[in-house]
């Protein structure tokens, strides 16, 4: 059994690939399993980002903010500190108002789930282009989702996804007994 995770644009899709299971994919990927996959994966992603770690394999800790790297700059600028006095240089958690990560959602998709930013506002799109895609010249890329070709989630998140599916298969076997 393989769980396939494909990323593109602002989203990743998680679905089952070839199955050596006793039930058809639709029975395995029922509404509850899709909800679990979506919500638990999203929780794991946000948990990791909150610690300052990327959920993308091979990236690990996010690069420090400008203030640490350059001795000045974000988030220790007067305007940021006035509006968000609790925003610290550490951890690098991509959170100021919270709207960037709050806009990350999951949705059911045929045979799986999608996780990403759906219909982002202009402001959120700017943040996605900055953090997720690394398109801002002065800001290091800080990936949240494995959307590039060859990208994967870190192994604990891959394990989480795999286990949700395996437990669902086990549940089907148990119910059939």
């Amino acid at each position: 059994m393989a769980t396939v995770i494909k990323g593109k644009g602002f989203k990743v899709t998680i679905k089952l690939d070839t199955l050596k299971a006793i039930a058809d994919p639709k029975k395995i990927m029922n509404a509850k399993t899709q909800k679990d996959l979506g919500s638990k994966t999203l929780d794991a992603i946000k948990d990791r980002v909150a610690i300052g770690l990327s959920p993308v394999k091979g990236v690990r800790r996010y690069m420090a903010y400008a203030s640490t790297r350059n001795g000045k700059g974000y988030p220790n600028t007067p305007d940021i500190q006035k509006k968000f006095p609790n925003k610290s240089t550490r951890p690098v958690n991509l959170k100021l108002s919270g709207e960037f990560l709050d806009a990350l959602e999951h949705k059911k998709k045929s045979g799986g789930v999608e996780i990403g930013w759906f219909n982002p506002t202009r402001h959120i799109k700017n943040l996605i282009e900055t953090h997720q895609q690394g398109l801002h010249p002065d800001v290091p890329r800080r990936q949240v989702l494995p959307t590039d070709e060859g990208n994967e989630f870190v192994s604990p998140i891959q394990r989480l996804i795999k286990n949700i599916v395996l437990r669902r298969i086990s549940e089907i076997i148990k119910k059939g007994s």
Partner: protein
């Protein structure tokens, strides 16, 4: 299940703990490697989580506060004046895991920041800094919450490779005798860990179903 540190290293480029995840466990080499990789990433995550909270992932206790002088240095640079073991962040960026061919796990700080890591962990015995330990010494373990997460992963590894003999399983006449038998193959693990891990192996669940033993599983296993 005890997961103790077998050896520590303290050199100019390596401050690390070597941990045996699979003592007395029957797991294939490939599964050991795969499991050690997952455990390694979990340890990186949990060590970083605890350091953000200014506490030791070994003892679980909060770190001693910074000296007045060092706090002034940190805050003068716009960094929080708390013992999170980072000024520039280079040492914590260098926290890494190495997995050997047979699944041996080594976690530590490798490269030029190894000395800073020894300053906090004092594996060398030469550090004059207050102890702010984030790597376990020989014979030590990570705190219980972290161990629990690791144990779940290891139990799944055992469940993946275990070969449960039919004749032995057929001797189970009650839930307690069933788990007593299973503990021979999942040594040191709780019933909850065993059951939860079994549910991640549908082939095993199918085998137990065919033997009429599924009734001994509580049904949640989460």
């Amino acid at each position: 299940m005890a997961i103790t540190t077998k050896k520590t290293n303290s050199t100019a480029t390596r401050t690390s703990s070597e941990i045996d995840l699979f003592e007395n466990l029957t797991v294939s080499r490939a599964t050991k490697r795969e499991t050690a990789e997952v455990v390694g990433e979990i340890l990186i995550q949990e060590i970083n989580r605890d350091l953000n909270d200014q506490k030791s992932p070994v003892s679980g206790t909060k770190f001693r506060g910074l000296s007045k002088g060092y706090k002034k240095i940190k805050t003068g640079r716009g960094e929080p004046g708390v013992p999170n073991l980072e000024l520039t962040g280079s040492m914590r960026d260098s926290l890494d895991v190495r997995v050997g061919a047979s699944g041996q796990l080594e976690i530590g700080v490798f490269g030029p920041d190894a000395g800073k890591a020894d300053g906090h962990n004092n594996f060398s015995g030469d550090s004059s800094l207050p102890l702010r330990q984030f790597l376990p010494r020989e014979g030590e373990e990570f705190r219980s919450g972290i161990r629990r997460k690791i144990n779940e992963v290891i139990a799944e590894a055992v469940a993946k490779d275990v070969k449960l003999p039919v004749k032995r399983l057929q001797e189970a006449t009650s839930k307690s005798s069933f788990f007593q038998i299973l503990r021979e193959f999942f040594p040191g693990m709780s019933n909850r860990e065993i059951e939860s891990s079994i549910l991640t192996n549908p082939d095993l669940v199918r085998r137990l179903r065919d033997l009429g033993l599924l009734g001994f599983l509580s049904g949640n296993g989460n």
